[in-house]
């Protein structure tokens, strides 16, 4: 028996989300009196044994070139084989882009109950119950998994990365990997920017900015804070900003440490996508904006005056 963790990589580098999943899986393994093991697919340029510090004791590495392009169908077959061979009782993913594609497939393949979007460690005192967000973050549900093997997809930024342990034993796992049916033709990445779902700090702006030409000051603040950029739905719908920056109920749901909302009134649909943020700052000239009710800190004021001062104050603090 073991807890098996999918170590998700990007161009050979281990994603931050995977560090969270390893920390979570190691703690769960302790709780169940077993060990945490990892599975990594394709070329990995980092030293996998160093991931032992996140609590994984052994990493099964399937180093096959076919796996250098993501295909959920192919990945699922390989992970299922590793899970069977290692006698995994729980298989854990991040509920990130890749995890959302693989975890449900693995659940259906192994007939193993799935909780996706988990936000806490399972309660194993009486059965196996996992807390997850529902209604786009407006509520949570406790889901009981009734099968021998369990699959969990952990929400990004829901579990703190913990380091401690030593090094992991890396063992090659050899299996025949059939190429998948999906042919990846091109990958484009916004270089140097922080992916929104992995960002610790997010600076987000709305209609209060009056037009796309005014985003310079938002970008300056984001830059000073090393933050990712986001926006409200009307802004994306008006094509002031790209759709992939739209956070909210029908956009991307995020849970950064700090969410700064500028010129966003805070409609219930927007709040649903951001209310798991640990600290929320609202800057709005309307004191009646509903967002203030969901905020930790606020400034009632004109964004055009406040934001440049904010950026200067951050630079000053970081410079000192």
């Amino acid at each position: 028996m073991s807890v098996l963790i999918f170590i998700d990589t990007n161009e050979g580098h281990v994603k931050k989300a995977s560090l969270e999943v390893m920390s979570y899986g190691a703690k769960l393994a302790d709780q169940l009196g077993t060990v945490a093991e990892g599975v990594a697919l394709g070329t990995v340029t980092e030293d996998l044994s160093a991931l032992g510090k996140y609590g994984v004791k052994k990493i099964h590495h399937v180093n096959n070139d076919v796996l250098n392009h993501f295909d959920a169908q192919v990945y699922t077959k390989v992970i299922a084989q590793v899970a069977e061979k290692t006698g995994a009782a729980v298989v854990i993913f991040s509920n990130n882009v890749d995890g959302k594609a693989i975890a449900p497939r693995l659940s259906a393949r192994l007939k193993a109950g799935l909780v996706s979007g988990a936000v806490a460690l399972p309660d194993t005192a009486n059965g196996f119950t996992v807390k997850k967000n529902v209604f786009s973050g407006k509520a949570f549900a406790n889901i009981t998994i009734n099968t021998a093997i369990k699959v969990i997809a952990l929400s990004p930024n829901a579990y703190q990365v913990k380091t401690g342990g030593g090094s992991a034993e890396v063992v090659p796992f050899t299996t025949n990997v059939e190429p998948g049916k999906i042919k990846v033709t091109n990958v484009t990445k916004a270089s140097g920017e922080v992916p929104l779902t992995e960002a610790e700090i997010v600076v987000s702006a709305g209609r209060g900015m009056k037009g796309p030409e005014n985003w310079g000051m938002i970008e300056d603040l984001a830059h000073a804070l090393h933050a990712a950029l986001a926006c409200s739905r009307p802004v994306a719908d008006a094509h002031w900003r790209p759709h992939n920056e739209h956070v909210g109920q029908t956009g991307i749901a995020i849970a950064p440490n700090l969410y700064i909302a500028i010129g966003i009134s805070g409609a219930i649909q927007h709040l649903a996508g951001v209310n798991r943020s640990k600290v929320i700052v609202v800057i709005n000239k309307d004191p009646e904006a509903p967002f203030f009710k969901a905020a930790d800190y606020g400034i009632v004021g004109d964004a055009f005056e406040v934001v440049p001062k904010f950026t200067e104050a951050v630079k000053k603090l970081k410079g000192s």
Partner: protein
Amino acid sequence: MKILVCISKTPDTTAKIAFTDNSTKFDTNGVQWIINPYDEWYALVRAIELKEKDSSAVIHLVNVGSADAEPIIRKALALGGDEAIRVNADSHDSFFVASQIAEVAKQGNYDLVFTGKETIDYNGSSIGGMVAELLDLPYVSLATKFELSETKATITREIEGGEENCEVELPVVVSAQKGMAEQRIPNMRGIMAARTKPLKVVEPTSVTPLTNVSGFGLPPAKAGVKLVSPDNVEELVRLLHEEAKAF
């Protein structure tokens, strides 16, 4: 060309979220029901656009739910579905629902199965992947663009911090999100036509759910906002740094 679009019934995005029966059931009192926005705005509308280009295409809708899902199924027919299949069962868990959809898909021999990227109530993002696995088909999730030439699909999907383009021969299962299409409003002709379009009710296949909901809860309320004067932005930065330890 046969397209199957999965349609889920969800509470309206402005619905008040509350629970009854000792926090084990969603309180449906006063709730307006809608088609899950991802299913409607992106999956269904993109299917309709494909049909507008290729008039031989047929769009079937599938819903797993009780009879009270029929108004939203009729709305989907009014938007442009050709016929609908309702699997007469409660949606116990995602595996149960996916198994029902997979059964319908097997019998209908579809070239393309579209789902929304997730439902706005359960937020599972699971149905597309499970259906694909049960049918042993490729799955492209979080698609923002979908083009078709003959039997080859060209798809753009979201990845962390960017996007990926890929090609795949049909059949394929695709989950759709923003970018794929634009929301439409049904017109009077569509609404009239929908009344007579076939809505078949089939009984569920026997499947044991793998999970169950043991309870719901609401997140703790915020302690209240701490307001800082717009003339003292440095104080806000100090609070964020020293008190909230946000950076």
